[in-house]
Symmetry: C3
Subunit: 151 residues, 3 copies
């Protein structure tokens, strides 16, 4: 690469990155909203000041429905920030655009499905394992390419 | 944008981003320090090797004062890394500088207040909900702008 | 700095960053793999659909061996994403290359050792505290430099 990397929306790869990053952040916030919705419908909260603010609510940090959504959220935290960093470095490696597009869309789709089968409507395994594995494999592939390119 | 994006401190928006990112990271580390401080003052630790290192300490992973600070920290992890990514993309969208400045300072102030009313001195709702909501709304606004700009 | 920051692999500092970021992400995924390995060997899972998929497995979210690895992973989430953001901003401050190299390698080494003495083979304190402290000090040093440079 002799030309400077273009940090504007004239750069299709950067645009792809920006759109996917934003969608993934919205997806993560959706999981937070789902936690809140279940807490309100079951009237079970983690903090005493939350329970006090709602009539009939109580403090309960062991409700399985809430904990399931929180585990889904934690899994997002373990996988999405690493992707956001690695995929930005990946677009600096001048990848084949079609491949990059498939990897980005694949990761985003896998993480949305992960949330659906984990937090929204539990589905029997290997549904969640597959979604998790696809996202993980894509980030690992990109990280390998990044290491090779920047060695 | 026909000019290249300036990644130096001559760029006021990048400088704004860099300062806010650093302050937010220091704030998060402050929550970690607070957890450690409470663990030491109550002599309640999560690991056996920590308890062994301090006379009279025990393993206890259910202390409410410690867990409250850890929930505040987890909420940071759910909100601050997404902001760090989205707000960087946002400054690439050539935003109105005054608006960008208000959004960045608003987010940072909201998250500092969130820590104060959650972990430092519990305040009754809607104090924490408001702080959380302001930060969330700012990140969502920026992510919407990013999607539109890079579509 | 009058020249534009080079986002290619001709930039030794960016290359250093990219390699370290990738290695840290692989390390974090290794902790996730370790959690899975222990869950399978002890047949203790967090979700009912996971337990159902394996003969003789049960739901158990309080196994100390699993929880220890999950605490190590959470500590990574609290420290590595902040480093990934701050260290990128740090290389924009035109640091002395040798110092930058030592800081990056020091952080990566400290976090790998942190995982070893926390999740792989528990070692008595202050082993883990030292690893944690070195990583924290390096990120704080860089964040201070970033604030000064971009003030």
């Amino acid at each position: 690469m002799s030309e400077a990397f273009d940090l504007s929306n004239n750069n299709p790869l950067l645009s792809l990155y920006a759109r996917n990053a934003s969608i993934l952040v919205f997806k993560m916030f959706g999981v937070a909203a789902l936690t809140g919705k279940i807490r309100h419908s079951k009237k079970k909260f983690a903090n005493i000041e939350d329970a006090k603010a709602i009539k009939g609510a109580q403090v309960d940090t062991a409700d399985e429905d809430v904990e399931r959504v929180r585990r889904a959220h934690l899994n997002d935290l373990e996988n999405i920030p690493p992707f956001l960093c690695i995929s930005f470095l990946y677009i600096l490696t001048d990848p084949e655009p079609k491949l990059a597009r498939n990897l980005f869309l694949g990761f985003t789709a896998a993480r949305i499905c992960h949330t659906l089968v984990y937090a929204v409507k539990p589905v029997r395994q290997p549904a969640r394992g597959l979604c998790y594995g696809v996202g993980l494999a894509i980030t690992c592939y990109m990280a390998t390419k990044v290491i090779k390119h920047f060695w």
